[in-house]
Symmetry: C2
Subunit: 649 residues, 2 copies
């Protein structure tokens, strides 16, 4: 008998060779129907794989990533099976589960192409095969044998993959007529996969290297229930409408130019205004929290990044160095602001009384990404971090952490992100050697983070072994209006850079001490944040933030004078207003303004001009009736001021 | 007889071979004493050189650049004569007049060095030689003969210079025992040089190329009268105190790091604050003038600058291209913002009704300078232009020009530059082919500039042939508190970039038309402007702008509470205040605050705490007596508000 410990710490005995599915059944039949994989002593197993020793186990359902990924991974195999059936001689690359589904990279062979129009036929084949409820069977064989198998089969991609694997035993999964080189885990059988949809076809270079052959990548997503799939597809449809690239273009917030270069956003007037307002807002919050703004150049000598360690880590894969026509100097586009800030810290001697130093910069950094990886503002080659570095004494760490959490809360509140998850990443307690910094400091800082989150009333999950080698961290993930998760706001402790830059302060003991550094960027980057904000709000920004707050729509040329009067009054009251003087029907003007997501539409005709009133419409909500002009101005000003007050509370 | 036309258009007849000095004497004896060179049909002559044909002449006195430069150039020869006398075998490089005096690059020979301590001896020798009143004699000889002379003399630098000259006849100047290869012009004799001072010794690579030998450069300055020299030396002394590099360090405005790289300023918190306030100020003014801010990346594909023509012109001498690890792309650090703005102009079709488009950006650009040429913030490798580009129709040019002049006036007023010079640079009317753009457009735009300046009541000098090949321009030069001239504010018309980027708008005739572009940057760059502002104000910035407006100086620890109360009150009233809580004597605290140029110092002791008063001191003016705390706050707020009102009027 072996001892199985469940997540609630209860212990049960089972015969050796028991499977996850057996255990689930022994607990409850309804649980057994829902469970998708089992985590055994930290490793994820198939539900049907034998457990041969005492173990701590977790039964993974759809609500856990390990359950979901087993589901999607098996779906990828099911798709591959269908493809082999429909396209004889097709060669397979890799087929993993991803954040939102799965894909398989395939080479359909000379002259054969697979396009979006072929997807329904593949889906049908998958449906047919899923109904066979073929069981996934795991088999282990030595690398040599595996190589022989695929060489015989003429499967060059799998041969390449095998060659890259370490020698030893390699696992294979078979279901029905399909076998794949695979680490697993998988579902018990294909019948689990009840609802799926193949989403799109794209080109993808083998191993992501453009010098290799371009394979065909087929994306799909699957769910245990049809209703879940329907909801997901509806969400995807809504997400498409909210795509920040589309809204950014429609609202003229930003643009890209292939002449300027891929992944280099240019902010158009309205976008620049929006971004500037966000920066002003954060600057104000940070000023109140004792931050000081600095401005540093966008390049630095290569040596700077050799010192920081960034060159050794990212140098080769990044934008190449910039040389000078004479003097043999070498500069790099700055990939991060911290080395510059360390140099500013060093510009004068610091005493324990000077700390904490909180140095903030809206610093534009440049990082190379393959053009195929670029995606609007969320994945760009140049972006502006709302960066700050706090240099503090060990005894100040907790308070500084708490203050950063406060700032993140202010931002979430101001921009209406109500739903978020918090994660604390600590050292792997069994492998302390791989971390830089003294044991004492790590213990102190880990304790400080845990206490700070607790005192702020946050329910944080703690992940051991997820800390960076140079310090523990705290992560915030927000859920947007469509339930999608976005990583925003990391607070990272750093013992490494102070060491590398030899940063010091004189303590009250008159000795030299090393400060601790905290990196933090609540928005992450202005680009990414604005993208998230667009997708979260569908471009309907809060009134205080939106580029154009009010539009005046004259019904005819006769009232243009009155419309101008309204405009001037609004502008004098610092309300961002514009006027639509086009010679168009009022219906068209209203429609166009609605599309521009302008919160208030003021229709003015002769009646309004006579009585000094405006007909107020609210974006998305229609007619709100007539209002005295002065009253509307007061009302709008109050609404804006109230929002600003609320967020600064 | 030849006909000589004077600047007042009067015409006089003189015998052929008459000299400038003869003409001056014929006009007045006092004029003859003051005149230094003569401009004959546009070429500057020695006063003693014969005029052999009808000519328009200008007699150049000290107040003209051509007079001053003849004086300084002759002074360089006088210094060289002294050096040859004192250092036998010394080899001479070049010895020009410069903006503020003259220098000579010399090679004193193996093992011989010239240092600052040798300068008095050289000055004495110069004095002795000047008293000899040796006449400068011009002699012309063929290049071959000149080469033979210097080869015989073993003067390798002059041989090199001669080799670089075009074949033909070469001029030499001799005075006393000294002869130099020289284009001239020179003074009649060395006796003119009555007052001079050798200022410093520096190293300078031969021909400015670091691969060549380093020569010794000796700087000097000279004047017709001792009093002028004394004033100049006093000004230099004051300028040294106002050196923006020194004040920038003392006030902690900016810093440089040799690890980050030469010529790359990093703005410290106080400097960043000052700069941001200037930017906010200009943004506000520009918003009121219908500008829209954009934000563009700091790099662009090489292709972008090939299109703009900048690569062909500056490419080789600038920061080298940045390549990517894959995909074979090439980017350049952006040396200017205009190409990006052209791409933004093109992002959507424009109609004649949309123009003018006024696109502004505080755009940081990078231009390579040799490290020896760098100088604090005035000559840096990275700087942020207060850039804007106006895209307009030809009929809008004059109004746009007028509006830019308005903005420049607002800035001069806000920052207390009262003394400035305006110059209009037009085409060379005799060489119209070398300019791009239609004759009609040039005529229109030149007329527009002239009319705009006239309507603004500006006395502008008109310089023909000084326009860029792509358009006429208007320049503003301000004089600072020490009388030094600084170029600030250029308004440049551009017909070239709209052509190169194929910019268009649809006219009222429904046809495609080319817009005209205006480049303008009233500050030039934030870096350069802040440097000028520091040197102009000696770091005593206007109250509205200065980083720290008020400092509170508690006399003892007993009144720290009261001091904090004062601080909070000031902060709540948006007055930028700080407090000096150091355990120092009040005298020391006052001295330190004075050095920091903080405008108001509030001394608080027990008496003040009891009566809720403050003892007010004004920077540089001393004690202003006691004031009720509330009254001081009101007073300070009023002064700031008044300044802000004044500048926005």
């Amino acid at each position: 008998m072996i001892r199985i410990t469940l997540p609630d710490n209860s212990v049960r005995e089972y015969p050796e060779g028991v499977t996850g599915l057996d255990i689930a059944k022994s607990l409850s039949n309804s649980l057994a129907k829902e469970v998708l994989s089992v985590t055994v002593n930290g490793e994820v197993y198939d539900l049907t794989r034998s457990i041969n020793e005492d173990a701590e186990i977790i039964l993974n359902k759809w609500d856990s990533e390990d359950g979901m990924h087993a589901f999607w991974h098996s779906s990828a195999h099911l798709m591959a099976e269908a493809l082999e059936a429909l396209y004889p001689g097709i060669k397979l690359g890799i087929g993993p589960s991803i954040d939102n589904g799965f894909y398989y990279d395939v080479d359909p062979g000379e002259g054969v192409t697979i396009t979006d129009s072929d997807l329904p036929a593949i889906e049908n084949k998958m449906k047919e095969l899923a109904q066979q409820q073929n069981t996934f069977v795991r088999k282990v064989m030595p690398k040599k044998e595996a190589l022989e198998h695929y060489t015989r089969k003429g499967d060059q991609y799998k041969v390449e993959l095998l060659n890259d694997l370490e020698d030893g035993t390699i696992s294979f999964y078979t279901h029905g007529n399909f076998t794949d080189l695979c680490r697993g885990p998988h579902l018990p059988h294909t019948g689990y996969i009840k609802a799926f949809k193949l989403l799109s076809v794209a080109g993808a270079y083998w191993k992501g290297d453009e010098r290799n052959k371009q394979l065909t990548r087929i994306y799909g997503v699957s769910f245990p229930k049809q209703k879940m799939l329907d909801e997901h597809l509806a969400m995807l449809e809504e997400a498409k409408k909210r795509d920040h690239r589309k809204i950014g273009r429609d609202l003229e917030l930003f643009t890209f130019s292939h002449v300027v270069g891929s992944g280099l956003p240019m902010w158009l007037p309205k976008g620049a205004q929006l971004r500037e307002r966000l920066e002003e807002f954060l600057k104000k919050v940070q000023r109140e929290h004792g931050y000081e703004q600095v401005i540093t150049p966008h390049i630095g000598q290569k040596e700077l990044y050799v010192t920081s360690g960034h060159y050794a880590k990212y140098g080769e894969a990044s934008f190449r160095p910039i040389s000078t026509p004479a003097e043999g100097e070498e500069f790099l586009l700055k990939p991060m602001n911290c080395p510059h800030h360390c140099e500013i810290y060093k510009f004068k001697p610091r005493s324990y009384k000077d700390l904490p130093v909180r140095m903030a910069e809206f610093g534009t950094v440049y990082r190379y990404e393959q053009s195929g990886e670029l995606h609007g503002l969320t994945r760009a080659r140049g972006f502006t971090q709302d960066d700050a570095h706090i240099f503090c004494r060990p005894d100040q760490l907790k308070e500084e952490f708490t203050k950063v959490i406060d700032i993140i809360f202010v931002i979430f509140k101001a921009l209406d992100f109500k739903d978020f998850i918090v994660q604390i990443s600590l050292r792997d307690p069994h492998d302390k050697e791989k971390y830089i910094g003294s044991d004492e400091n790590w213990e102190k800082s880990e304790k400080a983070i845990i206490e700070a989150t607790r005192e702020k009333g946050l329910e944080a999950s703690i992940e051991y072994g997820e800390a960076a080698f140079y310090g523990p961290k705290l992560d915030f993930m927000v859920k947007d209006a469509l339930g999608r998760k976005w990583q925003l706001g990391t607070i990272q402790v750093d013992y490494n850079l102070p060491e590398r830059f030899d940063l010091e302060y004189t303590g009250s003991d008159n000795q030299k001490h090393r400060p601790i550094m905290i990196h933090r960027a609540p928005f992450g980057s202005m680009e990414r944040f604005v993208a998230v904000l667009i997708e979260h709000t569908a471009g309907k920004f809060p009134l205080w933030l939106t580029p154009e707050q009010v539009v005046i729509l004259p019904i005819s040329e006769k009232v243009h004078n009155y419309a101008e009067k309204v405009l001037n009054l609004l502008k004098n009251c610092d309300i961002r207003a514009l006027i639509d003087l086009r010679n168009e029907k009022i219906g068209r003007k209203i429609r166009d303004s609605e599309l521009k997501r302008i919160p208030y539409l003021l229709v003015v005709g002769e009646k309004e001009a006579e009585n000094s009133t405006v007909s107020v419409r609210k974006q998305g909500e229609g007619d709100k009736g007539s209002m005295n002009l002065q009253d509307f101005v007061k009302f709008a000003k109050q609404e804006i001021e109230k929002q600003l007050e609320d967020i600064s509370k």
